[in-house]
Each structure stands twice: as C-alpha cells, then as structure tokens.
Amino acid sequence: MSSIGTGYDLSVTTFSPDGRVFQIEYAAKAVDNSGTVVGIKCKDGIVIGVEKLIASKMMLPGSNRRIHSVHRHSGMGVAGLAADGRQIVARAKSEAHNYENTYGEPIPIKELADRVASYVHLCTLYWWLRPFGSGVILGGYDRDGPQLYMVEPSGVSYRYFGAAIGKGRQAAKTEIEKLKLSDMTCRQGVIEVAKIIYGVHDEAKDKTFELEMSWVCDESNRQHQKVPEALLEEAKEAAKAALEEMDAD
C-alpha cells in the first residue's frame, strides 16, 4: 500500500492528514529492499541468518559483515543501509558497555532492545536528523533465557519467536510459521534458517548471495558467535538439497 505523500513527505516532523509520517515509511522501504534477515528463537537459544547479496565478484568472502556481536551474550543482524546499521550497532555496544559498568551484570536483552529502539526513535523526532534506513534483529541470552527482538526504523520494537526483514520477509515469515520452534534446538534451527534463506532468495532478480549465520545458545556457552564452519557447511548442503527437491516437484 504505497501512496505518494505529496507535500507531507518532505520532513520527518510533518504528519500527513491521515496521521502518517511519510519519511519514516520511506526509511522502512530502504529496509524492505535489502537482503533478507531472519531470526528465530529455539528452545535453547537464538539463530540469526542473513542473505548477504554480493554486489561485486571482487569482494572477499566473509567481508561486509551483516551480523555483529553487541556484547558477549547478544548480537544483531542488520538490514537496510549498511552505514546506518553500523551506527545502530555502535550505539548498542555502547549501551551494553555502560549498563555493565554501572550495574555489574550483562545488560538484559529487553533493556538493550528498549535502548536501541529509543535511539532509533530519537532520530525520527527532529527535522535536522534523518531516520535510520536500517532495521535490526537483535538476539541474546540472559538470565531470563534466550530472547529475540526486532527494531524498525520507526523506533518500534517487539519481541518475537521468529522474525524476518528485507526482501524475502513475507515468504520467510510463512516458512517460519510452519516450524515448531519450541521443540527445536539451535543446531536444528541453523539448518532450518539456511533452508529458509536459500528458499526466499530470488535467483532471477538478484545476484549471488553469501549466507551469514550466528547463534547464541547453550551449545555456544551462551556467547554470541558465528555458527561453526562445519555446521554452517552442513546447513548450506541441506538448504541446497531442499531447493533441488522443490525444483524437482
């Protein structure tokens, strides 16, 4: 449902007659046009996966990280404008660091999500700032167990079992809803996320992509880290096999 907000879309401090702030909606479009980011909460942790569209064959594999650690126990996958995403990550790291310095314990994920959302929202309140053109999927493991949050360019943040942003988010969400997440371990979750990302990647429209995945779970000692090489390879193989099966039908 996209409409032209003629005249009411010039500034983030202007409402349209039907109560919309068009600049924020346009910022969300930047996220919608980026590679898919998927996050799921399994019974023992969180898995985040990114469809990293490769702009040029000259880029080194493994560069242009889209998933960043925010602290030992949490990480974020970023969609949308990469440079904007970098700022959000930097802010999240800073918040996590200050919280631990003040309160002596790692920042609870709910608190971290709140702070990131406030910061993103802040940039939608002033005419001399523009909204962030990125959304993040934030996953972490604290005293209350594994949690998954998503923060949008509007500054809205919700907690999820499964979330997806970017180009293939509709298809990805449909796939996620089919999964029985409460019975799944992260080890199994990694395979499922790989399958989803390979599944929603549009071969015709987009260039090649690189799959980037991270997890924070009991198996990783509740630390946020890249999914181990061996498991990542296994996941990619399973995803490719599943694609072939689908094509064969």
Binding site: H68, S69, V70, H71, R72, K93, H97, N101, K226
Partner: protein, 236 residues
Amino acid sequence: MDTLLSSEGDSQRTQYPYVTGTSVIGFKYKDGILMAADMGGSYGSTIRYKSVERLKQVGKHSLIGASGEISDFQEILKYLDELILHDNMWDDGNSLGPKEVHNYLTRVMYNRRNKFDPLWNSLIIGGVKNGHKYLGSVGMIGVHFEDDHVATGFGNHLARPILREEWRADLTFEEGVKLLEKCMRNLLYRDRSAVNKLQIAKITEEGLTVSQPYSLKTFWNFAAFENPTVGATGSW
C-alpha cells in the same frame, strides 16, 4: 577536571596505597611462562586478606600478575576485560597477545602517572602467542621492560639474584616450579608482608592454568633459633 588554578587540597589523586599485594615472580621456561604470587592482601602492617588472587588470565594468550594496591588492580582488570571484549567482537580471527596487552598497560600506567594520579601497581604480563613467548613488566611510573625473568617489589631483591644464577631457557615445568618455590620460600622468610599461601600459574600455547592455593614447607630448626635467650645479657 584539574585547572591551573585549583589547589592541591581538592585534588582526587592517589597519595598512598591501602590494601597491597607483595611480590610477583615470573620467568620463561621451555613451554611458556611460569608465574607465582602469594595470596596476601596487607593493610599496612596487618595481613588483612589471605585469599587474594593476584594472578589473572587476560584473553586467550596472556597472564597478568599484580602487586601493589589491590583496588587499582581490580580497576585494571576491568579495563582489560573491556579491551578483550572489543577485540573479540571484531571477530576477525585475530586476538590480542601478551605484547599488545603489555603495551596497552604501559600507556595506561604512564598516562595516569603524568596526571599525578597513578594506578599504584607493579604488573607482570606474560604469555605465548603463535609459539612466541613474551614476558614483560610495567610499574606505576610507567617504566616498562621485557626480560626472561622479572619480579616486582621485594622479588627484585630476593628472587632475581637466584634467577640470575639458576634460570635456564630450557627449564622443564617441574624444574621451573622448583625454582619458583625456591624463590617464594626465600621471600616468605625475608618479606614481612608475605603469606604462606601461594598460587602458581603457567601459560603455554595450549592455554593457562592457575594452581589451587597451597603452602610451602619452611624450616626453622636452625641452631641459632634454639634457646634464643641463652646468650642474651640481662636488661638490668
């Protein structure tokens, strides 16, 4: 912050230490670094705390031992924790080694000294990275150096002479522990702030282990200690 016009009285500078740890000794051996420190925390002349861990791990490759003000050591550990966390979050396959940690601490110590607000510690950093052994020392003034064997405080006067005679580059772990214990026993006899409860740490390419606390056997059956008053003249 300090201005040119502020008086000495309202400064927040460290003037003297309160709870202190005594010597730390370290040396390179065949497989890596060995370090020892006792577990005492003295409050002036009172031995107030007897379970202070003065040897700590820093990241994957390094070990730090501290003498001096314990609260400043705790602060240094917080800085190091932040340093290592940020290094890990880069996730680029690289990690800070003992040489880098030593250099970082030297900058911290020297800059604090220049503000007349030192962290009142003498630190020893040792570790192994990519097969390369490293052992260095830095103090509250910012004086820093690298060597095959280092010590802090009284260790410099009582342990280093022993090490200068008996240290070799190819010491095995068992020989190294015996040499450390010889030095620590000497310190136990002669340093009044030493306590007989120590930890030994070893760091190799594989990793770090800090031993459980234990005590050294001491010998007091010297002839001069029997009937100590026999030759003394009376006071009146």
